[in-house]
Symmetry: C2
């Protein structure tokens, strides 16, 4: 997976998912996270995803989508519904989910050697 | 700093900043990042910020704002301009900056003990 998502010119949509993991129960989390990443990438309207998790359990995953409908479809996906339920029951202490319309974007790539 | 931002009901704005750090030059980075976090929080229209950085140098910072104007003002802030220049010159291999309008939001907080 590319670390930074290459997205088309705006407008498009983003889902910002910020989470605090539970310290206790990681059973099945990594496998499910991997399955969801693979499955999301197969959905209609998927544009890309970026993800980072700190050592202290704070994670941010931003997925990008062509439309709000594409997001709604993925939200309702049967296997994703299972993941959402397990997330609330076991894996997350707290999370914030925000659906946004991306209006402007700017990309920077270093041209020469990074000295 | 609270790990998850407590934001008001939408609509409001978000700046998604995803970055890949240079491996070589971290001089002054941590101090500047701290200064920018402190300074951003003092700006009119600032609502909150969430940040995570992986071990492999991928970072995601999402800041939340009342309006697109508040974002534009912070972008033009003299000290922030210095930080942006140094970021392009020294600290970042690549980054993506996306300005979004948050349309929907959902928060989850675990009620009982997290077993």
């Amino acid at each position: 997976m590319e670390p930074l998502a290459h997205t088309p010119p705006p407008p498009y949509y983003a889902v910002i998912f910020t989470s605090q993991r539970t310290p206790e129960d990681a059973t099945g989390y990594a496998a499910m996270a991997e399955e969801m990443a693979r499955l999301a990438a197969e959905q209609p309207g998927f544009l890309g995803v970026e993800s980072a998790r700190d050592g202290d359990g704070i994670g941010i995953t931003v997925s990008y989508w062509e439309s709000a409908d594409a997001i709604a479809n993925w939200h309702r996906h049967a296997r994703h519904q299972v993941a959402q339920r397990l997330g609330r029951e076991k894996w997350y202490e707290a999370f914030e989910l925000r659906v946004c319309r991306v209006e402007r974007a700017y990309a920077f790539r270093r041209a020469g050697p990074s000295t």
